[in-house]
């Protein structure tokens, strides 16, 4: 390991927080309280997570590992729920989408031998998959909400021509799946050129040969492409129905 942050250095780095507080104070941003809360939460949450992970990795029990992953997925689904106001059962839809993409993608990584069946590998990767799916389906919900509002008239005409709700929603479904996937596709195009992704930076800082680090990063990019595709498709196909009532009328 190249990288060890001593408690002393960490304390000294706290000075950076003072810079943020000073700027907020001088510019009257009114963010002092939020910054302090943010700092305290960062320290507490990460400390707790650090100890929990250490414990979970140590006892290496599959039931506990599954429980950890479920907690991550439930939290991600709850966050995604907030991004789809007005959509019925949006928590359940998000949960199904995130669970499926996590199981499929992490399962594939394990099956291909890219990941070892140990908590120290499975849990962080599940977290990455879940949080990326969460962001993607949040974008899907936003696109569904705007498109169903803006294209209301057109959908009514399609229904009036005798279309099933799926056909009437077809163009919106396409747009919304695309909205969920495009940030990941864009970042796949610019990765390494604009910024080094967090995971790869982390590996390099920790002393891993950059050429080895990129292999991991390539795997992560592929994984995220699959993740956002699976999550977006599931979320959109489950959510679009919620814009109609049982009489196949637009709500």
């Amino acid at each position: 390991m190249n990288l060890v942050v001593s408690n002393l250095s960490l304390t000294l780095v706290t000075g950076l927080v003072l810079v943020a507080l000073f700027i907020s104070y001088r510019e009257k941003l009114g963010l002092n309280k939020d910054i302090v809360i943010g700092v305290i939460r960062t320290v507490i949450q990460l400390t707790v997570v650090g100890y929990v992970l250490k414990y979970v990795f140590k006892i290496n029990n599959w039931a506990l590992t599954v429980l950890m992953i479920l907690i991550i997925i439930v939290n991600a689904a709850d966050n995604a729920r907030k991004r789809g106001p007005g959509i019925d059962n949006v928590f359940l839809i998000s949960f199904i989408a995130i669970l499926t993409s996590t199981v499929v993608v992490v399962g594939t990584l394990i099956a291909t031998g890219s990941l070892k069946m140990i908590p120290a590998q499975i849990i962080p990767f599940s977290g990455m998959v879940a949080s990326n799916t969460m962001v993607a389906i949040g974008l899907c919900y936003r696109s569904l909400n705007t498109s169903f509002r803006d294209q209301r008239q057109q959908i009514i005409e399609k229904l009036a021509l005798g279309a099933e709700i799926k056909l009437a929603s077809k163009s919106i479904l396409g747009e919304s799946v695309r909205a969920g996937m495009s940030p990941t596709i864009d970042s796949a195009k610019t990765v390494g050129l604009v910024s080094l992704p967090g995971m790869m930076s982390g590996l390099i800082i920790a002393g891993v040969d950059p050429v080895k680090a990129i292999k991991y990063q390539i795997m992560v990019m592929f994984m995220l492409l699959a993740t956002t595709a699976i999550g977006s498709v599931i979320a959109c196909y489950l959510a679009y129905r919620k814009f109609y009532n049982t009489q196949m009328q637009l709500k």
């Binding site: 057109q154 005409e157 009036a160 021509l161 005798g162 099933e164 056909l167 009532n245 009489q247 009328q249």
Partner: protein, 213 residues
């Protein structure tokens, strides 16, 4: 025996009563003209008849069956609702004329489409026109033709000639007459057009959500 019948139909949004106890019977092959002031509830009556919204009280019947019991998709293919100022979709005129076939999962009938275009004095080459390039009158005619690719039993028309010039109006009017007389389609037409009102066989007025005298 009425083909479409409304019994004590109310429609309410939040606390606002938009339709109040509408009773109406339309016989097969009727041509019913509906007029009334703007905002009185005419479009809402058509929306309910088209099964695009559900009455908050009362019942609607199609051939004596409560429409709540029918498959909405099948029903809308028989009782076809042409909205006021249709928005065309897709990219070309063909995308619009093909849509009814796509809906039914059948092969597009090119001959029928060209035949209909001819009836509204549009050339066959119109099919490949981009929808952003066509005029308001053409848009209205094509919007209407979408409902005629497969002949419906009932055609619900919401002010389809409003805003058209005399020439376009006459073309649309002739087509509707042909559909009514030759194909025996029942027509329910909301209109402000004086000519259509003058030649109406049966007419009702809707005033403040109720049928007036």
């Amino acid at each position: 025996m009425a083909i479409i019948e409304l019994k004590q139909v109310d429609y309410q949004i939040d606390d606002k009563k938009i339709l109040d106890s509408i009773d109406l019977a339309v016989e097969p092959n009727d041509y019913l003209t509906i007029t009334g002031p703007s905002g009185s509830g005419k479009s809402t009556v058509l929306l309910l008849m088209a099964q695009m919204a559900t009455a908050t009280a009362g019942n609607l019947y199609y051939n004596q069956t409560d429409i709540a019991e029918l498959n909405p998709v099948e029903y809308r293919r028989e009782v076809s609702y042409c909205v006021q100022r249709p928005a065309l979709f897709g990219e070309t005129v063909a995308d619009n004329l093909k849509f009814p076939a796509e809906v039914r999962g059948v092969e597009f009938d090119q001959t029928r489409a060209v035949d209909l275009l001819t009836k509204v004095q549009l050339p066959a080459s119109m099919m490949d026109e981009k929808i952003i390039d066509i005029s308001g009158g053409e848009r209205q005619r094509i919007g209407l033709l979408r409902h005629l690719m497969y002949v419906p039993k009932v055609l619900l028309l919401d002010e389809i000639t409003t805003g058209l010039d005399a020439e376009n109006k006459a073309i649309v009017w002739n087509l509707i007459q042909a559909v009514h007389n030759e194909d025996q389609v029942t027509i329910i037409s909301v209109t402000h057009d004086q000519q259509e009102i003058d030649s109406a066989k049966k007419m009702i007025q809707i005033i403040e959500g109720s049928i007036g005298k």
